[in-house]
């Protein structure tokens, strides 16, 4: 499996810069997710890698070989379209065999590989059907089989699960991940859904406005976001306004400490799981703390979510499983380790 290397990739549409000097390396056999909000340039990036649109600037290399100006049909990338793009006039087998025909694979081998690919996505026996006779999930699998059967240099998936209902999506996530691992296919996976990115990929590249804001493992990005955007886009965070005092920072009058503080107005970010519930007057050594009132306790699936109103604002707390949640209306304290808190510059409102 080859490795993919993208350098300074740029694409402009008039005044819009869809992709803005994006650089990214995907190792051989690695799965990387491009995660970002709608319109940040994910699809444009993927299409440039596939050769479906021409980059304005930058280079794309496959195992060191420059393929930036190579036409799509010579790249051998397996592209799974968001809309599946199955050929409506062809049977499932013909769809899956399409790429093999173009490669001049002999009939016997072709049929064998097509049926292997259909087995792989658990569609054995449906080869004679037309795409419109399949369910959404099955069409998705055909699209996947069609991209896999050509033994693609890189597998490219564009929001490929977003048209499925949530249960099917969970199953497909696991399935695609298993196949990707088993065949160790170099994969670039576009999504705006963080759970998809977290469960399906080795590394995640968070995109913002045509650039990569942060790249790393799910854990790294979640625990140590480099910017306000990443902290807010990936996972949930409590955002509390900080004020500068003579020699430090304070939160609603109480002094707090945060490791690195940018200049200007800043906000404090703290993940709900990292906030502890304390008795109102419980001394808490080593924690920054606030007091408030419990306004809501809700059960979100297996998690408990406690909403506490404090002088600094509303804080959401996710206590560890097994803790008895406090009563609504009770006075309570909340605290966190300074090392778990981050400060990011306030956005212009």
């Amino acid at each position: 499996m080859p490795s993919l290397s993208i350098q300074g990739l740029t694409k402009r549409y008039g005044a819009t810069v869809a992709v803005d000097g994006l650089s990214l390396d995907v190792g051989a056999g690695e799965a990387v997710a491009l995660l970002g909000p709608s319109g940040c340039g994910k699809t444009t990036t993927l299409r440039m890698v596939a050769g479906l649109i021409e980059p304005g600037d930058g280079s794309i290399r496959l195992d060191g070989v420059d393929i930036t100006r190579q036409p799509a049909y010579r790249r051998g990338m397996g592209y799974v379209f968001q809309s599946y793009a199955l050929f409506p006039h062809m049977s499932v087998s013909a769809n899956v065999g399409f790429g093999l025909d173009e490669r001049g694979v002999g009939r016997a081998e072709r049929d064998q590989r097509v049926s292997q690919a259909l087995d792989l996505v658990r569609l054995q026996g449906l080869g004679h059907r037309k795409p419109k006779e399949l369910s959404g999930g099955q069409q998705q699998r055909v699209a996947l089989a069609r991209a896999l059967v050509i033994k693609p240099a890189v597998l490219l998936l564009d929001e490929s699960l977003s048209n499925l209902d949530s249960k099917l999506r969970d199953a497909m996530r696991q399935e695609i991940r298993d196949i990707q691992r088993a065949l160790s296919i170099t994969t670039l996976f576009v999504t705006h859904d963080q759970i998809e990115a977290f469960t399906m990929c080795d590394r995640i590249a968070v995109m913002e406005k045509g650039r990569i804001a942060q790249i790393g493992s799910a854990r790294d990005i979640y625990d140590d976001p480099v910017s306000r955007f990443v902290a807010q886009f990936v996972g949930r965070a409590n955002v509390l306004p900080l004020t500068r005092t003579g020699d430090g920072l304070s939160l609603a009058g109480a002094p707090v400490s945060v490791s690195s503080v940018p200049t200007g107005d800043v906000d404090l970010f703290i993940r709900p799981q990292l906030v502890k519930l304390l008795a109102p007057s419980e001394p808490a050594s080593g924690l920054d703390r606030l007091t408030g009132k419990v306004t809501r306790v809700s059960f979100v699936g297996e998690r408990v979510e406690v909403v506490v109103d404090t002088a600094a604002g509303r804080i959401i707390v996710e206590p560890p499983a097994g803790t008895t949640p406090p009563d609504e209306g009770a006075d309570i304290g909340v605290g966190w380790r300074p090392a778990d808190a981050r400060a990011f510059r306030r956005e212009d409102a």
Binding site: L52, Y73, R74, F81, A85, L86, P88, H89, G99, E102
Partner: protein, 283 residues
């Protein structure tokens, strides 16, 4: 209010159209049918009768079959040429993201707004012995004598092709529904160069449009009169021109009526075969 049963109220909706068809189409057809069994008297006047003479005379005449073949052949050539020329144009119009798309489509079908007589004179200026093309051929030394491009089958075919193109383009545009850029991209990503994508994806997906456009234009070509008459210069003998000549020039109404019905039968047989075949192709 009285409730009208659903099926009956739906039938009522079809009533105006049904009346119109009976009035302006079915009734005259019956009249035409009746007329074809009349006879022509020695003076040339129509005599009321009930004989098969005219039919026997028409079907036994080799000239009738020659007319039929001419008509079918000319229609086939012109329709196919209009398809070959119109297809790339229609595909471009379907695809373009230009903000002038609407205007371009109007331009493509604008010739429909011009009387066919006027267009024929345009073609005469281009194709005639002293027309534009022959001028170029002779000036450039490629030819020493003018090439006959009008007043023959070639001229009729050229003019007919041009007059069919707007209809062809509209029919193709209407039929291109299943064409989808993403499918062509999928084809390219799977390793198909442009021409393979065209033959394996674009062409098969536009087959419904092609079949529709071809059918529509063939029917129009079979019934075309002015263009082949003028550009054929009276030397191209077709069913349509012969019906006109029999009805207006020779004033042999029974024969004109029989020819008209005969044309209808030929066309019906042809279309029956065509739709059976195209159903098979599309299955």
């Amino acid at each position: 209010m009285t409730a009208i049963p659903k099926s009956r109220s739906l039938a009522l909706l079809a009533l105006p159209a049904a009346l119109l068809i009976v009035g302006v189409y079915a009734a005259p057809m019956v009249g035409l049918g009746r007329m074809s069994f009349n006879e022509t008297g020695p003076t040339g006047a129509m005599v009321n009768a009930f004989s098969f003479d005219i039919w026997a005379q028409m079907l036994g005449d080799d000239f009738t079959w020659e007319l039929t073949l001419n008509s079918l052949w000319l229609s086939f050539v012109a329709t196919t040429a209009a398809l070959v020329l119109g297809y790339p144009l229609a595909l471009f119009l379907f695809r373009t993201e230009s903000r002038f798309r609407g205007l371009l489509i109007v331009l493509a079908v604008a010739p429909m707004l011009v009387s066919s007589v006027v267009r024929v004179f345009g073609w005469l200026a281009i194709l005639g012995d002293r027309g534009f093309i022959n001028f170029l051929l002779m000036q450039s030394g490629l030819a020493s004598a003018p090439t006959r491009l009008v007043y023959n089958l070639t001229g009729a075919a050229i003019g007919l092709t041009e007059s069919l193109m707007p209809y062809m383009i509209l029919a193709l545009l209407a039929g291109f529904g299943r064409l989808d850029r993403t499918l062509e991209e999928a084809s390219a990503s799977l390793g198909a160069p442009a021409w393979r994508t065209f033959t394996r994806v674009t062409l098969p997906l536009s087959l419904p449009a092609i079949l529709l456009g071809w059918l529509l234009c063939f029917v129009l070509a079979m019934s075309a009169y002015v263009t082949p008459k003028l550009l054929g210069g009276g030397r191209v003998f077709l069913l349509a021109t012969e019906i006109y000549d029999q009805a207006i020039t020779t004033v042999n109404w029974p024969l004109a009526a029989a020819l008209a019905l005969f044309t209808l039968v030929v066309l019906t047989l042809f279309l029956g075969t065509y739709s059976a075949l195209s159903r098979k192709v599309q299955a």
